[in-house]
Symmetry: C2
Subunit: 314 residues, 2 copies
Protein backbone atom coordinates (compact mmCIF):
# COMPACT_ATOMS: atom_id res chain seq x y z
CA UNK A 1 0.00 0.00 0.00
CA UNK A 2 2.67 2.64 0.89
CA UNK A 3 3.48 3.37 -2.74
CA UNK A 4 -0.07 3.18 -4.13
CA UNK A 5 -1.19 6.44 -5.69
CA UNK A 6 -4.60 7.81 -6.65
CA UNK A 7 -3.93 7.08 -10.33
CA UNK A 8 -3.58 3.38 -9.37
CA UNK A 9 -7.01 3.11 -7.70
CA UNK A 10 -8.96 5.54 -9.94
CA UNK A 11 -11.91 7.76 -9.08
CA UNK A 12 -14.34 4.97 -8.26
CA UNK A 13 -11.73 2.97 -6.34
CA UNK A 14 -11.11 6.04 -4.24
CA UNK A 15 -14.82 6.66 -3.60
CA UNK A 16 -15.21 3.02 -2.58
CA UNK A 17 -12.34 3.33 -0.05
CA UNK A 18 -13.93 6.40 1.54
CA UNK A 19 -17.38 4.76 1.57
CA UNK A 20 -15.89 1.71 3.27
CA UNK A 21 -14.29 3.89 5.96
CA UNK A 22 -17.54 5.84 6.41
CA UNK A 23 -19.62 2.67 6.79
CA UNK A 24 -17.86 2.09 10.13
CA UNK A 25 -19.91 4.87 11.72
CA UNK A 26 -23.63 4.27 12.40
CA UNK A 27 -25.95 6.83 10.78
CA UNK A 28 -28.31 8.82 12.99
CA UNK A 29 -32.03 8.80 12.17
CA UNK A 30 -31.75 12.32 10.75
CA UNK A 31 -29.89 10.85 7.74
CA UNK A 32 -32.58 9.47 5.40
CA UNK A 33 -30.16 8.89 2.50
CA UNK A 34 -26.40 9.09 2.98
CA UNK A 35 -23.45 8.46 0.68
CA UNK A 36 -24.12 6.84 -2.69
CA UNK A 37 -27.05 8.66 -4.29
CA UNK A 38 -27.19 11.84 -6.41
CA UNK A 39 -27.67 13.81 -3.20
CA UNK A 40 -28.08 13.18 0.51
CA UNK A 41 -31.44 13.51 2.25
CA UNK A 42 -31.44 14.88 5.80
CA UNK A 43 -34.39 15.29 8.16
CA UNK A 44 -34.48 18.27 10.54
CA UNK A 45 -37.02 18.17 13.37
CA UNK A 46 -40.35 19.93 12.84
CA UNK A 47 -39.99 23.66 13.44
CA UNK A 48 -36.30 23.82 12.62
CA UNK A 49 -34.49 26.03 10.13
CA UNK A 50 -31.60 24.63 8.10
CA UNK A 51 -28.09 26.05 8.51
CA UNK A 52 -25.51 25.74 5.70
CA UNK A 53 -21.83 26.67 5.52
CA UNK A 54 -18.84 25.82 3.35
CA UNK A 55 -15.12 25.90 4.07
CA UNK A 56 -11.97 24.82 2.25
CA UNK A 57 -8.52 23.56 3.27
CA UNK A 58 -5.92 23.87 0.49
CA UNK A 59 -2.44 22.32 0.43
CA UNK A 60 0.21 25.02 0.70
CA UNK A 61 -2.31 27.56 1.98
CA UNK A 62 -4.13 25.96 4.94
CA UNK A 63 -1.92 22.93 5.48
CA UNK A 64 1.45 21.43 4.61
CA UNK A 65 2.11 17.69 4.47
CA UNK A 66 5.53 18.13 6.11
CA UNK A 67 4.25 19.61 9.38
CA UNK A 68 0.91 17.82 9.83
CA UNK A 69 -0.35 14.28 9.53
CA UNK A 70 -3.16 13.80 6.98
CA UNK A 71 -5.40 12.80 9.89
CA UNK A 72 -4.80 16.14 11.62
CA UNK A 73 -5.48 17.96 8.32
CA UNK A 74 -8.82 16.15 8.02
CA UNK A 75 -9.76 16.76 11.65
CA UNK A 76 -8.94 20.46 11.47
CA UNK A 77 -10.88 20.88 8.23
CA UNK A 78 -14.10 19.54 9.76
CA UNK A 79 -13.59 21.49 13.00
CA UNK A 80 -13.29 24.74 11.02
CA UNK A 81 -16.56 24.03 9.22
CA UNK A 82 -18.43 22.85 12.34
CA UNK A 83 -17.32 25.98 14.16
CA UNK A 84 -19.49 28.02 11.77
CA UNK A 85 -22.50 25.92 12.80
CA UNK A 86 -21.56 26.49 16.45
CA UNK A 87 -21.52 30.27 15.88
CA UNK A 88 -25.15 30.09 14.67
CA UNK A 89 -26.22 27.88 17.60
CA UNK A 90 -26.95 24.99 15.22
CA UNK A 91 -26.75 21.26 15.79
CA UNK A 92 -25.02 19.37 12.96
CA UNK A 93 -27.01 17.12 10.61
CA UNK A 94 -24.30 16.04 8.17
CA UNK A 95 -21.58 17.16 5.79
CA UNK A 96 -20.24 16.58 2.29
CA UNK A 97 -16.57 16.53 1.31
CA UNK A 98 -15.33 17.57 -2.14
CA UNK A 99 -11.81 16.22 -2.49
CA UNK A 100 -9.47 17.54 -5.17
CA UNK A 101 -6.09 15.84 -5.52
CA UNK A 102 -3.31 15.14 -8.00
CA UNK A 103 -3.20 11.59 -9.45
CA UNK A 104 0.26 11.25 -7.87
CA UNK A 105 -1.07 11.62 -4.31
CA UNK A 106 -0.40 8.51 -2.25
CA UNK A 107 -3.63 6.77 -1.25
CA UNK A 108 -2.47 6.54 2.36
CA UNK A 109 -2.73 10.31 2.64
CA UNK A 110 -6.34 10.20 1.44
CA UNK A 111 -7.06 7.43 3.94
CA UNK A 112 -5.57 9.68 6.63
CA UNK A 113 -7.62 12.70 5.55
CA UNK A 114 -10.78 10.59 5.48
CA UNK A 115 -10.20 8.98 8.86
CA UNK A 116 -9.48 12.40 10.39
CA UNK A 117 -12.73 13.74 8.96
CA UNK A 118 -14.64 10.68 10.15
CA UNK A 119 -13.11 10.84 13.62
CA UNK A 120 -14.38 14.40 14.15
CA UNK A 121 -17.63 13.52 12.40
CA UNK A 122 -18.29 10.76 14.93
CA UNK A 123 -17.25 12.95 17.84
CA UNK A 124 -19.70 15.70 16.94
CA UNK A 125 -22.52 13.64 15.47
CA UNK A 126 -22.10 15.07 11.98
CA UNK A 127 -21.95 12.13 9.53
CA UNK A 128 -20.34 12.25 6.08
CA UNK A 129 -23.33 12.02 3.72
CA UNK A 130 -21.83 12.64 0.30
CA UNK A 131 -19.05 14.19 -1.68
CA UNK A 132 -17.17 14.60 -4.89
CA UNK A 133 -13.75 13.55 -6.12
CA UNK A 134 -11.77 15.37 -8.79
CA UNK A 135 -8.28 15.65 -10.17
CA UNK A 136 -6.41 18.89 -9.42
CA UNK A 137 -2.82 20.15 -9.22
CA UNK A 138 -2.83 20.45 -5.44
CA UNK A 139 -4.80 18.66 -2.74
CA UNK A 140 -7.80 20.38 -1.18
CA UNK A 141 -10.84 19.52 0.88
CA UNK A 142 -13.97 21.64 0.47
CA UNK A 143 -16.60 20.80 3.05
CA UNK A 144 -20.26 21.77 3.19
CA UNK A 145 -21.86 21.33 6.62
CA UNK A 146 -25.59 21.36 7.26
CA UNK A 147 -27.20 21.84 10.64
CA UNK A 148 -30.51 22.72 12.19
CA UNK A 149 -31.64 25.41 14.59
CA UNK A 150 -35.04 26.19 16.14
CA UNK A 151 -37.03 28.27 13.65
CA UNK A 152 -36.07 31.95 13.60
CA UNK A 153 -33.65 31.55 16.51
CA UNK A 154 -30.21 31.33 14.84
CA UNK A 155 -27.49 33.43 16.45
CA UNK A 156 -26.17 35.99 13.97
CA UNK A 157 -23.31 38.43 13.50
CA UNK A 158 -25.77 41.31 13.31
CA UNK A 159 -27.17 41.72 16.82
CA UNK A 160 -24.54 43.86 18.63
CA UNK A 161 -25.69 47.11 20.30
CA UNK A 162 -23.75 49.91 22.00
CA UNK A 163 -23.18 49.04 25.65
CA UNK A 164 -23.14 45.25 25.03
CA UNK A 165 -20.46 43.38 26.96
CA UNK A 166 -17.96 41.55 24.68
CA UNK A 167 -17.37 37.95 25.80
CA UNK A 168 -15.22 35.07 24.59
CA UNK A 169 -15.23 31.37 25.48
CA UNK A 170 -12.10 29.37 26.30
CA UNK A 171 -8.57 30.72 25.90
CA UNK A 172 -6.91 32.30 22.88
CA UNK A 173 -3.51 32.07 21.24
CA UNK A 174 -2.57 28.38 21.47
CA UNK A 175 -3.24 27.67 17.78
CA UNK A 176 -1.20 30.67 16.61
CA UNK A 177 1.67 29.72 18.95
CA UNK A 178 1.74 26.20 17.52
CA UNK A 179 1.83 27.57 13.96
CA UNK A 180 4.80 29.78 14.94
CA UNK A 181 6.59 26.77 16.43
CA UNK A 182 5.93 24.75 13.24
CA UNK A 183 7.15 27.66 11.09
CA UNK A 184 10.46 27.52 12.97
CA UNK A 185 10.71 23.75 12.59
CA UNK A 186 10.38 23.23 16.36
CA UNK A 187 7.22 21.13 16.35
CA UNK A 188 4.58 19.56 14.16
CA UNK A 189 1.00 20.80 14.17
CA UNK A 190 -1.02 18.37 16.29
CA UNK A 191 -3.55 20.52 18.09
CA UNK A 192 -7.17 20.18 17.00
CA UNK A 193 -9.62 22.67 18.48
CA UNK A 194 -13.07 21.74 19.74
CA UNK A 195 -15.88 23.44 17.84
CA UNK A 196 -18.12 25.02 20.50
CA UNK A 197 -21.30 23.34 19.29
CA UNK A 198 -22.74 22.68 22.71
CA UNK A 199 -21.92 26.19 23.96
CA UNK A 200 -23.50 27.71 20.84
CA UNK A 201 -26.72 25.76 21.38
CA UNK A 202 -26.85 26.82 25.04
CA UNK A 203 -26.35 30.47 24.08
CA UNK A 204 -29.47 30.17 21.89
CA UNK A 205 -31.64 29.49 24.90
CA UNK A 206 -30.34 32.45 26.95
CA UNK A 207 -31.82 35.91 27.03
CA UNK A 208 -29.55 38.88 26.37
CA UNK A 209 -27.28 37.48 23.66
CA UNK A 210 -26.49 40.13 21.03
CA UNK A 211 -24.24 38.96 18.20
CA UNK A 212 -22.11 35.81 17.88
CA UNK A 213 -19.21 34.72 15.65
CA UNK A 214 -16.56 32.02 15.84
CA UNK A 215 -12.88 32.96 16.09
CA UNK A 216 -11.26 31.70 12.90
CA UNK A 217 -9.39 34.77 11.60
CA UNK A 218 -8.36 36.06 15.06
CA UNK A 219 -10.05 38.15 17.74
CA UNK A 220 -9.40 41.55 16.12
CA UNK A 221 -10.49 40.54 12.63
CA UNK A 222 -13.56 38.61 13.79
CA UNK A 223 -14.63 41.39 16.19
CA UNK A 224 -14.46 43.68 13.16
CA UNK A 225 -16.81 41.29 11.28
CA UNK A 226 -19.35 41.82 14.11
CA UNK A 227 -19.01 45.58 14.40
CA UNK A 228 -18.16 47.01 10.99
CA UNK A 229 -21.42 45.95 9.22
CA UNK A 230 -23.55 47.56 11.95
CA UNK A 231 -21.37 50.69 12.18
CA UNK A 232 -20.25 50.13 15.77
CA UNK A 233 -16.90 50.03 17.57
CA UNK A 234 -15.54 48.37 20.73
CA UNK A 235 -13.13 48.92 23.56
CA UNK A 236 -11.21 45.74 24.39
CA UNK A 237 -8.90 45.32 27.39
CA UNK A 238 -6.02 43.11 26.18
CA UNK A 239 -5.23 42.23 29.79
CA UNK A 240 -8.61 40.48 30.06
CA UNK A 241 -8.16 38.39 26.92
CA UNK A 242 -7.81 34.83 28.27
CA UNK A 243 -4.72 32.81 27.30
CA UNK A 244 -3.67 29.25 28.20
CA UNK A 245 -1.54 28.50 31.29
CA UNK A 246 2.18 29.36 30.86
CA UNK A 247 1.38 31.07 27.53
CA UNK A 248 3.43 34.22 28.21
CA UNK A 249 6.52 32.20 29.16
CA UNK A 250 6.21 29.99 26.05
CA UNK A 251 5.93 33.11 23.88
CA UNK A 252 8.90 34.75 25.62
CA UNK A 253 11.11 31.75 24.86
CA UNK A 254 10.40 32.30 21.15
CA UNK A 255 10.65 36.09 21.34
CA UNK A 256 6.93 36.41 20.52
CA UNK A 257 4.47 38.98 21.86
CA UNK A 258 1.74 37.01 23.71
CA UNK A 259 -0.76 39.87 23.35
CA UNK A 260 -0.30 39.96 19.58
CA UNK A 261 -0.79 36.19 19.30
CA UNK A 262 -3.92 36.20 21.47
CA UNK A 263 -5.50 39.21 19.72
CA UNK A 264 -4.48 38.57 16.12
CA UNK A 265 -3.77 34.82 15.93
CA UNK A 266 -6.43 32.71 14.24
CA UNK A 267 -7.91 29.20 14.38
CA UNK A 268 -8.85 29.15 18.05
CA UNK A 269 -12.47 28.36 17.13
CA UNK A 270 -13.79 29.81 20.36
CA UNK A 271 -17.04 31.82 20.32
CA UNK A 272 -17.00 35.60 20.51
CA UNK A 273 -20.36 37.09 21.48
CA UNK A 274 -21.97 40.16 22.96
CA UNK A 275 -24.23 40.26 26.02
CA UNK A 276 -26.77 42.97 26.79
CA UNK A 277 -25.83 45.09 29.84
CA UNK A 278 -28.80 43.59 31.75
CA UNK A 279 -27.82 39.96 31.04
CA UNK A 280 -26.59 37.82 33.96
CA UNK A 281 -22.87 37.98 34.89
CA UNK A 282 -20.48 35.98 32.78
CA UNK A 283 -19.50 33.80 35.77
CA UNK A 284 -22.95 32.16 35.78
CA UNK A 285 -22.74 31.86 32.02
CA UNK A 286 -19.44 29.98 32.27
CA UNK A 287 -21.11 27.48 34.60
CA UNK A 288 -24.00 26.96 32.16
CA UNK A 289 -21.73 26.59 29.15
CA UNK A 290 -19.21 24.40 30.99
CA UNK A 291 -16.43 26.61 29.61
CA UNK A 292 -14.40 29.61 30.70
CA UNK A 293 -16.20 32.80 29.63
CA UNK A 294 -14.24 36.07 29.79
CA UNK A 295 -15.71 39.54 29.55
CA UNK A 296 -13.06 41.45 27.60
CA UNK A 297 -14.63 44.81 26.76
CA UNK A 298 -17.67 46.74 25.56
CA UNK A 299 -19.37 47.66 22.31
CA UNK A 300 -19.21 51.41 21.66
CA UNK A 301 -21.05 53.76 19.31
CA UNK A 302 -17.95 54.40 17.28
CA UNK A 303 -14.17 54.39 17.44
CA UNK A 304 -13.47 56.46 20.53
CA UNK A 305 -11.42 59.58 19.86
CA UNK A 306 -9.49 59.45 23.16
CA UNK A 307 -8.71 55.80 23.79
CA UNK A 308 -8.35 54.60 27.36
CA UNK A 309 -4.74 53.68 28.02
CA UNK A 310 -4.01 50.03 27.29
CA UNK A 311 -7.38 49.45 25.62
CA UNK A 312 -7.66 48.61 21.96
CA UNK A 313 -10.26 50.47 20.01
CA UNK A 314 -11.96 49.15 16.92
CA UNK B 1 -10.37 46.93 -14.82
CA UNK B 2 -9.08 44.64 -17.61
CA UNK B 3 -5.66 44.20 -15.99
CA UNK B 4 -6.83 44.03 -12.36
CA UNK B 5 -5.96 40.74 -10.66
CA UNK B 6 -7.17 39.06 -7.50
CA UNK B 7 -4.02 40.07 -5.65
CA UNK B 8 -4.95 43.71 -6.32
CA UNK B 9 -8.40 43.51 -4.72
CA UNK B 10 -7.61 41.01 -1.92
CA UNK B 11 -9.87 38.41 -0.29
CA UNK B 12 -12.34 40.86 1.22
CA UNK B 13 -12.41 43.04 -1.88
CA UNK B 14 -13.31 39.95 -3.88
CA UNK B 15 -16.04 38.87 -1.45
CA UNK B 16 -17.50 42.40 -1.60
CA UNK B 17 -17.61 42.28 -5.42
CA UNK B 18 -19.48 38.97 -5.38
CA UNK B 19 -21.86 40.19 -2.65
CA UNK B 20 -22.60 43.30 -4.68
CA UNK B 21 -23.42 41.18 -7.74
CA UNK B 22 -25.59 38.85 -5.63
CA UNK B 23 -27.53 41.74 -4.09
CA UNK B 24 -29.08 42.34 -7.52
CA UNK B 25 -31.29 39.25 -7.10
CA UNK B 26 -34.19 39.40 -4.62
CA UNK B 27 -34.11 36.68 -1.94
CA UNK B 28 -37.07 34.32 -1.64
CA UNK B 29 -38.73 33.96 1.76
CA UNK B 30 -37.09 30.57 2.26
CA UNK B 31 -33.75 32.39 2.80
CA UNK B 32 -33.78 33.58 6.42
CA UNK B 33 -30.09 34.59 6.43
CA UNK B 34 -28.07 34.80 3.22
CA UNK B 35 -24.52 35.89 2.41
CA UNK B 36 -22.54 37.61 5.14
CA UNK B 37 -22.91 35.56 8.32
CA UNK B 38 -21.02 32.49 9.59
CA UNK B 39 -23.57 30.31 7.82
CA UNK B 40 -26.77 30.69 5.84
CA UNK B 41 -30.18 29.89 7.31
CA UNK B 42 -32.76 28.34 5.01
CA UNK B 43 -36.38 27.47 5.77
CA UNK B 44 -37.94 24.37 4.18
CA UNK B 45 -41.73 24.01 4.37
CA UNK B 46 -43.20 21.93 7.19
CA UNK B 47 -43.01 18.23 6.33
CA UNK B 48 -40.07 18.53 3.96
CA UNK B 49 -36.74 16.70 4.02
CA UNK B 50 -33.53 18.53 3.15
CA UNK B 51 -31.49 17.48 0.10
CA UNK B 52 -27.75 18.24 -0.10
CA UNK B 53 -25.22 17.74 -2.88
CA UNK B 54 -21.76 19.05 -3.77
CA UNK B 55 -19.99 19.34 -7.11
CA UNK B 56 -16.74 20.88 -8.33
CA UNK B 57 -15.51 22.46 -11.59
CA UNK B 58 -11.73 22.60 -11.85
CA UNK B 59 -9.67 24.55 -14.42
CA UNK B 60 -7.93 22.15 -16.79
CA UNK B 61 -10.21 19.26 -15.79
CA UNK B 62 -13.80 20.49 -16.16
CA UNK B 63 -13.20 23.73 -18.06
CA UNK B 64 -10.59 25.64 -20.02
CA UNK B 65 -10.49 29.43 -20.26
CA UNK B 66 -9.58 29.27 -23.96
CA UNK B 67 -12.75 27.48 -25.11
CA UNK B 68 -15.37 28.85 -22.71
CA UNK B 69 -16.32 32.25 -21.37
CA UNK B 70 -16.15 32.56 -17.56
CA UNK B 71 -19.92 33.13 -17.60
CA UNK B 72 -20.50 29.79 -19.33
CA UNK B 73 -18.18 28.09 -16.83
CA UNK B 74 -20.22 29.52 -13.95
CA UNK B 75 -23.56 28.62 -15.54
CA UNK B 76 -22.47 25.04 -16.27
CA UNK B 77 -21.15 24.58 -12.74
CA UNK B 78 -24.48 25.45 -11.16
CA UNK B 79 -26.43 23.41 -13.70
CA UNK B 80 -24.36 20.32 -12.85
CA UNK B 81 -25.10 20.76 -9.15
CA UNK B 82 -28.80 21.54 -9.62
CA UNK B 83 -29.16 18.47 -11.80
CA UNK B 84 -28.44 16.34 -8.72
CA UNK B 85 -31.35 18.01 -6.93
CA UNK B 86 -33.52 17.35 -10.00
CA UNK B 87 -32.63 13.64 -9.87
CA UNK B 88 -33.98 13.48 -6.29
CA UNK B 89 -37.17 15.39 -7.19
CA UNK B 90 -36.11 18.30 -4.97
CA UNK B 91 -36.85 22.01 -5.30
CA UNK B 92 -33.77 24.23 -4.73
CA UNK B 93 -33.47 26.36 -1.58
CA UNK B 94 -30.00 27.86 -2.08
CA UNK B 95 -26.34 27.20 -2.73
CA UNK B 96 -22.87 28.12 -1.52
CA UNK B 97 -19.83 28.63 -3.74
CA UNK B 98 -16.27 27.94 -2.58
CA UNK B 99 -13.96 29.69 -5.02
CA UNK B 100 -10.27 28.78 -5.19
CA UNK B 101 -8.09 30.87 -7.50
CA UNK B 102 -4.51 32.03 -8.04
CA UNK B 103 -3.72 35.63 -7.03
CA UNK B 104 -2.81 36.29 -10.68
CA UNK B 105 -6.36 35.57 -11.92
CA UNK B 106 -7.89 38.64 -13.57
CA UNK B 107 -10.86 39.93 -11.61
CA UNK B 108 -12.96 40.10 -14.79
CA UNK B 109 -12.92 36.31 -14.96
CA UNK B 110 -14.25 36.07 -11.41
CA UNK B 111 -16.95 38.61 -12.29
CA UNK B 112 -17.85 36.40 -15.25
CA UNK B 113 -17.96 33.22 -13.15
CA UNK B 114 -20.10 34.95 -10.54
CA UNK B 115 -22.53 36.44 -13.04
CA UNK B 116 -22.89 33.05 -14.74
CA UNK B 117 -23.67 31.42 -11.40
CA UNK B 118 -26.12 34.18 -10.50
CA UNK B 119 -27.83 34.00 -13.91
CA UNK B 120 -28.63 30.30 -13.44
CA UNK B 121 -29.41 30.90 -9.77
CA UNK B 122 -32.08 33.43 -10.70
CA UNK B 123 -33.43 31.22 -13.47
CA UNK B 124 -33.96 28.25 -11.16
CA UNK B 125 -34.82 30.06 -7.92
CA UNK B 126 -31.70 28.86 -6.14
CA UNK B 127 -30.03 31.93 -4.53
CA UNK B 128 -26.37 32.19 -3.61
CA UNK B 129 -26.42 32.20 0.21
CA UNK B 130 -22.76 31.95 1.18
CA UNK B 131 -19.32 30.84 0.17
CA UNK B 132 -15.63 30.82 0.73
CA UNK B 133 -12.65 32.31 -1.08
CA UNK B 134 -9.15 30.87 -1.00
CA UNK B 135 -5.87 31.06 -2.86
CA UNK B 136 -4.91 28.01 -4.95
CA UNK B 137 -2.69 27.18 -7.92
CA UNK B 138 -5.60 26.69 -10.31
CA UNK B 139 -9.11 28.09 -10.39
CA UNK B 140 -12.00 25.94 -9.15
CA UNK B 141 -15.59 26.34 -8.05
CA UNK B 142 -16.98 23.91 -5.50
CA UNK B 143 -20.71 24.30 -5.04
CA UNK B 144 -23.00 22.92 -2.37
CA UNK B 145 -26.69 22.98 -3.27
CA UNK B 146 -29.51 22.50 -0.78
CA UNK B 147 -33.06 21.65 -1.72
CA UNK B 148 -36.23 20.33 -0.18
CA UNK B 149 -38.48 17.39 -0.97
CA UNK B 150 -41.72 16.14 0.64
CA UNK B 151 -40.80 13.98 3.63
CA UNK B 152 -39.74 10.44 2.74
CA UNK B 153 -40.54 10.96 -0.94
CA UNK B 154 -37.13 11.67 -2.52
CA UNK B 155 -36.43 9.80 -5.77
CA UNK B 156 -33.38 7.55 -5.36
CA UNK B 157 -30.95 5.47 -7.41
CA UNK B 158 -32.04 2.34 -5.54
CA UNK B 159 -35.56 1.58 -6.73
CA UNK B 160 -35.07 -0.36 -10.00
CA UNK B 161 -36.71 -3.81 -10.34
CA UNK B 162 -36.51 -6.46 -13.07
CA UNK B 163 -39.09 -5.72 -15.76
CA UNK B 164 -39.01 -1.93 -15.19
CA UNK B 165 -39.02 0.14 -18.39
CA UNK B 166 -35.93 2.35 -18.77
CA UNK B 167 -36.82 5.93 -19.74
CA UNK B 168 -34.89 9.09 -20.48
CA UNK B 169 -35.99 12.73 -20.85
CA UNK B 170 -34.92 15.02 -23.70
CA UNK B 171 -32.26 14.10 -26.25
CA UNK B 172 -28.71 12.89 -25.69
CA UNK B 173 -25.35 13.60 -27.28
CA UNK B 174 -25.35 17.36 -27.96
CA UNK B 175 -23.01 18.18 -25.07
CA UNK B 176 -20.49 15.50 -26.07
CA UNK B 177 -20.61 16.63 -29.71
CA UNK B 178 -19.84 20.22 -28.67
CA UNK B 179 -16.89 19.05 -26.56
CA UNK B 180 -15.56 17.15 -29.60
CA UNK B 181 -15.92 20.27 -31.75
CA UNK B 182 -14.10 22.37 -29.13
CA UNK B 183 -11.34 19.75 -28.88
CA UNK B 184 -10.75 20.15 -32.61
CA UNK B 185 -10.71 23.94 -32.35
CA UNK B 186 -13.91 24.18 -34.46
CA UNK B 187 -16.10 25.93 -31.89
CA UNK B 188 -16.23 27.30 -28.40
CA UNK B 189 -18.33 25.69 -25.69
CA UNK B 190 -21.50 27.76 -25.32
CA UNK B 191 -24.24 25.25 -24.63
CA UNK B 192 -25.68 25.22 -21.14
CA UNK B 193 -28.06 22.38 -20.29
CA UNK B 194 -31.31 22.86 -18.39
CA UNK B 195 -31.40 20.95 -15.11
CA UNK B 196 -34.67 18.99 -15.13
CA UNK B 197 -35.91 20.36 -11.82
CA UNK B 198 -39.53 20.68 -12.84
CA UNK B 199 -39.59 17.20 -14.43
CA UNK B 200 -37.98 15.68 -11.32
CA UNK B 201 -40.64 17.22 -9.09
CA UNK B 202 -43.42 15.96 -11.34
CA UNK B 203 -41.95 12.44 -11.32
CA UNK B 204 -42.23 12.51 -7.51
CA UNK B 205 -45.98 12.74 -7.70
CA UNK B 206 -46.41 9.85 -10.14
CA UNK B 207 -47.03 6.24 -9.23
CA UNK B 208 -44.76 3.60 -10.74
CA UNK B 209 -41.40 5.39 -10.71
CA UNK B 210 -38.56 3.00 -9.79
CA UNK B 211 -35.11 4.57 -9.68
CA UNK B 212 -33.90 7.96 -10.97
CA UNK B 213 -30.50 9.50 -11.74
CA UNK B 214 -29.30 12.48 -13.77
CA UNK B 215 -27.10 11.94 -16.81
CA UNK B 216 -23.76 13.54 -15.99
CA UNK B 217 -21.24 10.78 -16.78
CA UNK B 218 -23.12 9.44 -19.82
CA UNK B 219 -26.01 7.00 -20.32
CA UNK B 220 -23.97 3.79 -20.00
CA UNK B 221 -22.07 4.88 -16.90
CA UNK B 222 -25.10 6.37 -15.15
CA UNK B 223 -27.28 3.37 -15.97
CA UNK B 224 -24.59 1.28 -14.32
CA UNK B 225 -24.87 3.47 -11.20
CA UNK B 226 -28.58 2.50 -11.04
CA UNK B 227 -28.15 -1.20 -11.68
CA UNK B 228 -24.83 -2.35 -10.27
CA UNK B 229 -25.63 -1.57 -6.59
CA UNK B 230 -28.87 -3.56 -6.74
CA UNK B 231 -27.35 -6.44 -8.74
CA UNK B 232 -29.48 -5.97 -11.85
CA UNK B 233 -28.81 -5.58 -15.57
CA UNK B 234 -30.58 -3.96 -18.51
CA UNK B 235 -31.21 -4.36 -22.22
CA UNK B 236 -31.01 -1.03 -24.05
CA UNK B 237 -31.95 -0.50 -27.70
CA UNK B 238 -29.48 2.07 -29.05
CA UNK B 239 -31.88 2.85 -31.90
CA UNK B 240 -34.38 4.17 -29.35
CA UNK B 241 -31.91 6.49 -27.61
CA UNK B 242 -33.13 9.99 -28.55
CA UNK B 243 -30.70 12.39 -30.21
CA UNK B 244 -31.15 16.00 -31.39
CA UNK B 245 -32.29 16.81 -34.96
CA UNK B 246 -29.56 16.42 -37.60
CA UNK B 247 -27.29 14.80 -34.99
CA UNK B 248 -26.18 11.86 -37.17
CA UNK B 249 -25.21 14.17 -40.04
CA UNK B 250 -23.26 16.48 -37.72
CA UNK B 251 -21.39 13.48 -36.29
CA UNK B 252 -20.72 12.10 -39.77
CA UNK B 253 -19.08 15.38 -40.85
CA UNK B 254 -16.60 14.96 -37.99
CA UNK B 255 -16.15 11.22 -38.50
CA UNK B 256 -17.78 10.51 -35.13
CA UNK B 257 -20.07 7.62 -34.20
CA UNK B 258 -23.43 9.14 -33.14
CA UNK B 259 -24.39 6.05 -31.14
CA UNK B 260 -21.17 6.24 -29.13
CA UNK B 261 -21.68 9.93 -28.37
CA UNK B 262 -25.31 9.44 -27.33
CA UNK B 263 -24.59 6.38 -25.16
CA UNK B 264 -21.24 7.33 -23.64
CA UNK B 265 -21.08 11.13 -23.86
CA UNK B 266 -21.67 13.01 -20.62
CA UNK B 267 -23.10 16.31 -19.39
CA UNK B 268 -26.54 16.04 -20.97
CA UNK B 269 -28.16 16.49 -17.55
CA UNK B 270 -31.32 14.72 -18.64
CA UNK B 271 -33.10 12.37 -16.22
CA UNK B 272 -32.79 8.60 -16.57
CA UNK B 273 -35.47 6.70 -14.65
CA UNK B 274 -37.25 3.40 -14.52
CA UNK B 275 -41.02 2.85 -14.70
CA UNK B 276 -42.90 -0.16 -13.35
CA UNK B 277 -44.43 -2.32 -16.13
CA UNK B 278 -47.92 -1.29 -14.97
CA UNK B 279 -47.18 2.46 -15.07
CA UNK B 280 -48.89 4.56 -17.78
CA UNK B 281 -47.27 4.76 -21.21
CA UNK B 282 -44.36 7.16 -21.65
CA UNK B 283 -46.33 9.26 -24.17
CA UNK B 284 -48.68 10.49 -21.42
CA UNK B 285 -45.67 11.01 -19.21
CA UNK B 286 -44.04 13.25 -21.82
CA UNK B 287 -47.17 15.42 -21.87
CA UNK B 288 -47.14 15.72 -18.07
CA UNK B 289 -43.44 16.53 -17.90
CA UNK B 290 -43.54 18.88 -20.89
CA UNK B 291 -40.48 17.09 -22.28
CA UNK B 292 -39.72 14.27 -24.69
CA UNK B 293 -39.66 10.96 -22.81
CA UNK B 294 -38.19 7.93 -24.59
CA UNK B 295 -38.53 4.33 -23.48
CA UNK B 296 -35.14 2.87 -24.41
CA UNK B 297 -35.11 -0.61 -22.86
CA UNK B 298 -35.84 -2.83 -19.85
CA UNK B 299 -34.28 -3.76 -16.53
CA UNK B 300 -33.25 -7.42 -16.44
CA UNK B 301 -32.32 -9.85 -13.68
CA UNK B 302 -28.72 -9.98 -14.81
CA UNK B 303 -26.48 -9.57 -17.82
CA UNK B 304 -28.14 -11.75 -20.45
CA UNK B 305 -25.93 -14.55 -21.80
CA UNK B 306 -27.33 -14.36 -25.34
CA UNK B 307 -27.77 -10.68 -26.13
CA UNK B 308 -30.44 -9.67 -28.62
CA UNK B 309 -28.80 -8.36 -31.76
CA UNK B 310 -28.20 -4.61 -31.68
CA UNK B 311 -29.11 -4.34 -27.99
CA UNK B 312 -26.57 -3.31 -25.41
CA UNK B 313 -26.48 -5.37 -22.27
CA UNK B 314 -25.32 -4.10 -18.92
Amino acid sequence: LPGVRLRDVGEFGLIERIERLARGSPLPRSVVIGIGDDAAVLRPRPGEDVVLSTDAAVEGVHFRWDVQSPRVVGRRALVAALSDLAAMGARPLGFTCALAAPPSLVVRRVDGLASGLLQEAARHGCPLVGGNVTRARETSLTLAVVGAVPRGRALTRRGARPGDRVCVTGRLGAAALEVERARRGLARIRHVATPRLSAGRKLLSLRGIGACIDLSDGLEADLDHLLEPVGLGAEIDPARVPTPPRFAAACARLGLDPEALALAGGEDYELLFTLRPSAPPSAGLARRLGLPVSEIGRVTRRRSAAPRRGWRHF
